[in-house]
């Protein structure tokens, strides 16, 4: 409850700062709008529950309709781990990638408009061996699947 309030305050102050900056003419308002669409709270979470709260969703339901494609079981280099996710859940609206043991759990959120295949691949960083979650939002509900990826060389250290 309290953390929620903090986050709301933080988000609020960030917003007003941006508005001020935009008003001062430093920023193209379009760029400011782009910055605001970044969900700061969600990218600073450390557990699946926290992330879900920040994304405004309920506890996700485990689903076999989400599959990892072209994703290794063992990643030699944690700095570049290929991740491919395909969702067969009808009306998939968004796909998120979460890495349990990274400093911040959420790695990326992709909004999938109608007409775009709910399937994508990218590359992420992993600090250590961890479970990776593929979180799918479809028709207002959340679904999740996970996979453990072993990392032999971390990607977050110096």
């Amino acid at each position: 409850m309290d953390t929620h309030r903090r986050q709301a305050l933080k988000a609020g102050s960030a917003f007003s700062l941006l508005t001020l900056v935009a008003a001062a003419g430093w920023l193209d308002p379009r760029e400011a709008a782009a910055a605001e669409s970044w969900n700061k709270g969600a990218f600073e979470t450390h557990s699946l529950d926290e992330t879900m709260k920040a994304l405004g969703g309920s506890t996700p339901v485990p689903s076999n309709d989400i599959v990892f494609v072209a994703t290794p079981d063992i990643a030699e280099n944690g700095a570049v781990v290929p991740i491919g996710i395909t969702s067969k859940v009808p009306q998939t609206d968004s796909i998120a990638i979460l890495i349990e043991k990274n400093p911040n759990m959420l790695a990326a959120v992709f909004d999938i408009p109608p007409g775009t295949d709910p399937s994508l691949s990218t590359r992420i960083k992993m600090g250590q061996t961890s479970s990776v979650y593929a979180l799918v939002k479809a028709n207002g509900r959340y679904y999740v699947t996970s996979k453990e990826i072993k990392v032999t060389l971390g990607g977050c250290g110096g």
Binding site: V80, T116, T122
Partner: protein, 103 residues
């Protein structure tokens, strides 16, 4: 200004396959330099892909996306010769837009 993205957009059946390689440090803010000072975070936060001004993919990224990010996906409705426009914005509010023609 950052280096241009490498974008490929190819028609595969009835879908357009987009592959993009962006050039960005994607610094996490977790690493330290030789003097033990934290290297500040510097990463792409928003990515938008548009086909004929219709957004076909919008993404929010954290610093856990790998350096020089790669992204691949497919959308329907593209035709040969159409333009695919990709824009990213990082946490310094630096932005870059590149365009490719569907082949």
């Amino acid at each position: 200004m950052a280096d241009p993205m490498k974008i490929r957009a190819n028609l595969v059946g009835d879908a357009t396959e987009v592959k993009v390689l962006m050039s960005h440090e994607m610094e996490t803010g977790q690493r330290k330099d030789a003097d033990g000072k934290v290297i500040p975070a510097w990463f792409i936060q928003n990515v938008k892909v548009a086909h004929n001004d219709k957004v076909v993919l919008a993404a929010q990224w954290g610093p856990a996306v790998a350096k020089n990010p790669f992204l691949s996906f497919r959308f329907k409705g593209g035709a040969k010769g159409d333009k695919v426009k990709i824009t990213w914005t990082d946490n310094h509010n630096d932005t870059r837009t590149d365009e490719a023609t569907i082949a």
